[in-house]
Symmetry: C2
Subunit: 205 residues, 2 copies
């Protein structure tokens, strides 16, 4: 059985859990936290020198880091990856957008506000910068979602799963979604998918 090493409260770690739930595939969850030094232990660093979760472990012991690369591996050949070459590249475009323009703002601002361990880093400048950067990313999403049901084509893809992870908790980062009706409708659409599971869900629970 596949194992996902991850921190249950992390949006990045939720992404592969949500995909596995949507696909109805069993997996094992092993809790590893970046907040208590778990990702800096020698055994973990041997598997992922970058010291980050999630980390996917295959049946043969091979490991794969990077939440969105894990989504691509698990989603390969499923209904969450478009057949069309250009649509597939558009999906990846949103996933790179998520890691470069969205997560470092929307998710990081949440972590600055939510985790006591991050308090020293939560300077007024940092909070202002991530607020502005996060709203810029949300506006880019809104532009698409105000006129479309899904980020790519007319069906949910890995891009929707990747961007759902931190967008649905943007409020905890101080991002008011009232001005983003397209995003709010899209969040509800994802939550209405058959076999959807919330971030609090863990396999076996």
């Amino acid at each position: 059985m596949l194992t996902i090493h991850g921190m249950s409260d992390s949006g990045n770690c939720y992404k592969p859990r949500l995909l596995m739930a949507l696909l109805g595939r069993p997996f094992r969850h092993v809790e590893v936290s970046s907040l208590d030094g778990g990702t800096k232990q020698p055994a973990f660093l041997a598997a992922n020198p970058n010291g980050k979760v999630p980390l996917l472990e295959l049946e043969d012991g091979c490991t794969l880091p990077e939440s969105n690369a894990i989504l691509c591996y698990l989603g390969d050949g499923t209904r969450f990856v478009p057949d069309d070459r250009f649509a597939r590249a558009q999906m990846l475009g949103w996933m790179f957008f998520e890691q470069y323009s969205h997560e470092p703002q929307v998710a990081v601002r949440r972590s600055l506000l939510v985790y006591p361990q991050m308090r020293a880093a939560a300077t007024p400048q940092r909070l202002a910068d991530t607020l502005a950067g996060g709203h810029k990313a949300l506006a880019v999403m809104e532009q698409r979602l105000s006129g479309a049901q899904w980020l790519v084509g007319d069906a949910p893809s890995l891009a929707d799963i990747a961007l759902y992870a931190y967008t649905h908790r943007a409020g905890e980062g101080g991002f008011e979604l009232a001005d983003y009706p397209g995003i709010r409708a899209w969040l509800a659409r994802i939550e209405g998918l058959s076999d959807y599971r919330p971030i609090s869900w863990l396999p076996g629970a």
Copy 2:
């Protein structure tokens, strides 16, 4: 013919140019700079609401943002994408690493030092943070490249092109590569590829 809208001096914009050169495919280059407001013009924002280059334009006018998604589109079905599903995911893992852990440190520190427009943002704290973060990313690459010729498997892939773009100019960001012999040998290996072109190269020149 395909068009790549980009800033000739940008590593992100160099990635698809280098891939097209290695593939021996013709393309058109249109200079658009983020330093003179070119990426914030209404016509450009209509094509990429995120206001970033590079932007790929197909023959039919469809556009695709995100340098690494463009690499995936252009590289699909070529020798630069592994056939094996797990190796393909590993390639994407390095590409997400590049955008999350490498570019915001190694490339951003270079831009802070090189571009007069960035001088106000080049605070001592920012320079110290990006120096530490950049060396952390380079150490992760060195761990792989001290024992392997390429980032994934035994042949160059899109991951090598993506990470070459800013690593080969890390010195301009104040990153001394003397302690990274694996990276230096890998840079030379890429520069020895048939049809390799430097960042200064533009089609037609």
